[in-house]
Symmetry: C2
Subunit: 237 residues, 2 copies
């Protein structure tokens, strides 16, 4: 029975970390809201399921719903060999994934510092202040942390955890993709200092299932009106 995956259609967002892991795992899944429309998300969240998630994304496994991006990945990583089997390895992978979540949330907050109730144009001035801080301090702080983790790991080619691909590697790939889209100038300046991060990005991009997914219609494009990573030239310095 395929997984049922629930997230906003037409948006990469947080859900894309899960989609990419499902694709790399070769796990059969239905991206339900892309088939039935976005109303299905509300219907399921407000329906009769026990233990309803707070918000999308969530994954339906038989009769159970699993919510929160990093929690879904914790589940999938264990079941599809995308995380180590040891407790210590699983915790470390989860810790890295949570940090990727923080990083991508900070990227999101550059364009919506006052929250989603206002359009970008209504908070562009505030967004420029927040984006300056992100570009000048946070971007390199996060990238430097990942570079350091990769430099500590003797694995060749580079992996964040041990010698095999994990969902954290896949999520870091997606984060680099998003940052290149949203902040092309800042990333062009920054990338040369993080060769291992870029090498890992390229490694993930070359995985056959990921490559096939990226070239397929299942992969939604980045968009300046939706998702964690949005391009507005004035936020790129």
């Amino acid at each position: 029975m395929p997984y049922e995956f629930y997230y906003w259609p037409h948006v990469q967002g947080r859900g894309e970390f899960v989609r990419l892991a499902l694709e790399e795992a070769g796990a059969p899944y239905i991206d339900v809201a892309r088939v039935e429309g976005p109303e299905v998300l509300k219907r399921v969240l407000e329906g009769r399921f026990p233990k309803p998630p707070f918000a999308p994304p969530f994954l339906k496994v038989r009769m159970h719903l699993i919510g929160q991006t990093t929690n879904i990945l914790l589940y999938l990583g264990e079941r599809h060999g995308l995380a180590p089997k040891s407790d210590a390895g699983r915790l470390w992978t989860n810790q890295i994934q949570l940090t990727i979540g923080d990083f991508s949330l900070e990227a999101h907050d550059t364009h919506h510092p006052l929250g989603p109730r206002l359009q970008f144009e209504e908070q562009a001035t505030e967004a420029m202040k927040r984006a300056a801080w992100f570009r000048e301090e946070r971007l390199e702080r996060f990238l430097g942390w990942f570079e350091n983790i990769l430099s500590q790991n003797a694995s060749v080619p580079p992996h964040l955890v041990g010698a095999r691909l994990t969902y954290a590697d896949i999520s870091l790939f997606q984060t680099v993709e998003g940052l290149r889209y949203a902040f092309p100038k800042a990333m062009q300046r920054a990338e040369r200092r993080y060769p291992r991060v870029i090498a890992l990005h390229d490694l993930v991009a070359s995985r056959p299932r990921i490559r096939a997914y990226l070239a397929s219609e299942r992969r939604i494009g980045f968009h300046e009106r939706a998702g964690l990573f949005r391009h507005h030239a004035e936020l790129d310095g």
Copy 2:
């Protein structure tokens, strides 16, 4: 050997979720930066430990550092009986904790929508917009979700997961404490609609070890200059 816990001294912040769990577990720990000063945090983060966390809080267990609040709690919950033993129960507890993390981060963002580089006074106008959205929509949306989870669980007295106390219960207690401090007027209006959330808060507050901790000097007070939950009258509507 006691745990070594690392977080900003003088601040509850995210670290308080961990401190409360350690206290309820009766686990010996040293709150290192309260003994040695805040410089120790940087020293350890930039030191020679493998797998360094990105930021405090982190927990040192023998020679290992464990970072990210929800990840530390995942670890402690398993070892100290503060989470179910089943995989499904552990994931559900983690999912709730992640949602508490989102809730408390949104409470934080009301006073610092433009990030921590600017003082509150430099972003008070933006903060008022963000706080209005939090008070009018998010506060009740989150509290309603927890109330619903509690109403689905037949446990008497109420618990979020199963029939025993988990770290998620303790963290929800802390969140209610923080909200009452930061938004006393909004909370006074809201609380009557969430009787189970308040009953769970009171249950946690009455636990002997929690009560002893709250009355001790180990418990740092809320503060309008530090932490996730800060009181500024103009943000309380």
